[in-house]
Symmetry: C2
Subunit: 256 residues, 2 copies
């Protein structure tokens, strides 16, 4: 049974792409057949696994707006056991172009249903908004992973995100569950980070993974080499933390 | 002659709100009549000057979608010499609601034209996307300030932003100019930050402000007190850097 997971948070710069690239590549390296779908017009997840968005001919834009089958847009084996549906800049137009279209919220869901038996894990990277792209993504998956930066503005946005997840559950996708909140970019030098972490654990208990991802310079350097952290610097604190995050997510299969 | 400035960058979490709140409040504290317009559904700029978005009755949503005059939506004197047009969550719906509307890109521009003679500076905080809200903002102002986080993904997105600014110049607002690129969240401990800063200065020369804003914990703590850095901790490195940034922007009046 394939597991489908979106990594979403409308707050910008909170580690969505870093989390999805790190976890998806760890899952692939562990031997699971993995598909990574980049639904952010910035194409950062595409870059993060070593593909140049400017050199791509078909992408998630064609899948959503022109209903190209996923099998026609994916790049196979960007990493061992991992295929990628890349994003390109024209995806930015999809937020507007999809609005008047038939079944506009469910286009990704129907595209995934045609290929899901080929994979064990399907991940989707979302843009920093709650528009048509994130809605398509949340309507298409069973689980949402929420990376939460331990900062004040990020904490403020969490309520809005969970409200929107609930709207999607009621209107488009009753199977949708928040399966994990991951505390990221934790800077042990600040009181603020500790306060945010404590408040989130009090409110959300078990949903919050035990592992906390520290702020780690190597994590921000890895994308410039087009490599996930596990390949760029497996000895780094960032790599160790994301291995632990991945294990917690893999373990959760047993609870589902 | 009023100066109108949008702070924009579709990359998330790069310091747009921190920059606009810090600079707008410094400009107001220096005695200029200032209006801050929050066009991000997250409402972080609203929070950043001490107003709770959940307690607000009229907002930028009403101005854009229902054509309420700005004078009916603003909160006066949130700081000395500063008025605020707050943002609320329903603004997230505006990206979709505006699509079929008449003159959808120019609604903010016409709203500002009715009040601009009451101000010396008008600032707009943008969400992390290039949708209808950012387009409205870029069509309404004469200048764009681009905060650039000194990291790889942020650098990648700069080209896309500048292309979109050009499209707006050609199609909606010929007066629009990029007036400043501000290097922010600079972490002196990393080679990456230095490399990004160097590359940006080589490409964009004079556009890049001399001042570089360091990563400073006090900056991330200020929003939890609803205060701009100049009020929260004027002695901090972050406050000093944003005073220097503000001076460079004020000086630029002479060049315009
Ligand atoms: N734990 C970490 N330590 C240090 N840097 C990090 C960490 N996680 C992410 N980063 C860096 O912080 C920046 C923001 O992360 P990322 O781009 O993954 O966030 P995002 O939520 O995907 O952003 P967006 O909202 O624009 O899609 C990137 O430059 C990334 O390299
Ligand atoms: N120079 C800095 N040093 C340390 N922290 C900073 C600095 N500038 C901003 N921050 C913090 O980094 C986070 C991102 O900044 P901010 O929210 O201003 O970015 P943004 O571009 O407005 O994000 P969004 O794309 O979500 O609108 C915030 O938690 C903020 O407090
Ligand atoms: Mg991202
Ligand atoms: Mg912001």
């Amino acid at each position: 049974m394939v597991r489908t997971l979106a990594v979403a948070n409308q707050k910008g710069g909170v580690g969505k792409t870093t989390t999805v690239v790190s976890v998806a590549s760890n899952v692939a390296l562990a031997g699971f057949r993995t598909l990574l779908i980049d639904l952010d017009p910035q194409g950062n997840a595409t870059t993060g696994v070593g593909v140049n968005p400017r050199e791509v001919s078909t992408s998630s834009y064609n899948v959503l707006v022109q209903q190209l089958p996923l099998s026609g847009a994916r790049i196979q084996n960007v990493l061992p056991n991992m295929d990628l549906v890349p994003a390109t800049l024209d995806l930015a137009g999809a937020e507007v172009e999809l609005v008047p279209m038939f079944s506009r919220e469910l286009r990704l869901r129907s595209a995934i249903s045609l290929v899901e038996n080929e994979y064990d894990y399907i991940f989707v990277d979302c843009p920093p908004s709650l528009g048509m792209l994130t809605i398509n993504s949340l309507a298409a998956v069973n689980e949402v992973i929420v990376p939460l930066q331990c900062e004040y503005y990020a904490l403020e946005g969490l309520g809005q995100l969970l409200t929107n997840v609930q709207l999607i559950q009621e209107g488009l996708n009753p199977d949708l569950q928040v399966s994990a909140i991951v505390l990221v970019m934790f800077d042990a030098r600040t009181r603020l980070a500790e306060q945010v972490a404590q408040e989130v654990r009090e409110h959300f208990g078990e949903l919050v993974l035990t592992t906390v991802v520290p702020r780690s310079i190597r994590l921000s350097e890895a994308p410039s080499y087009g490599q996930p952290i596990e390949i760029y610097d497996p000895a780094s604190a960032g790599a160790a933390a994301y291995r632990a995050v991945t294990n917690e997510i893999l373990e959760a299969t047993k609870k589902l």
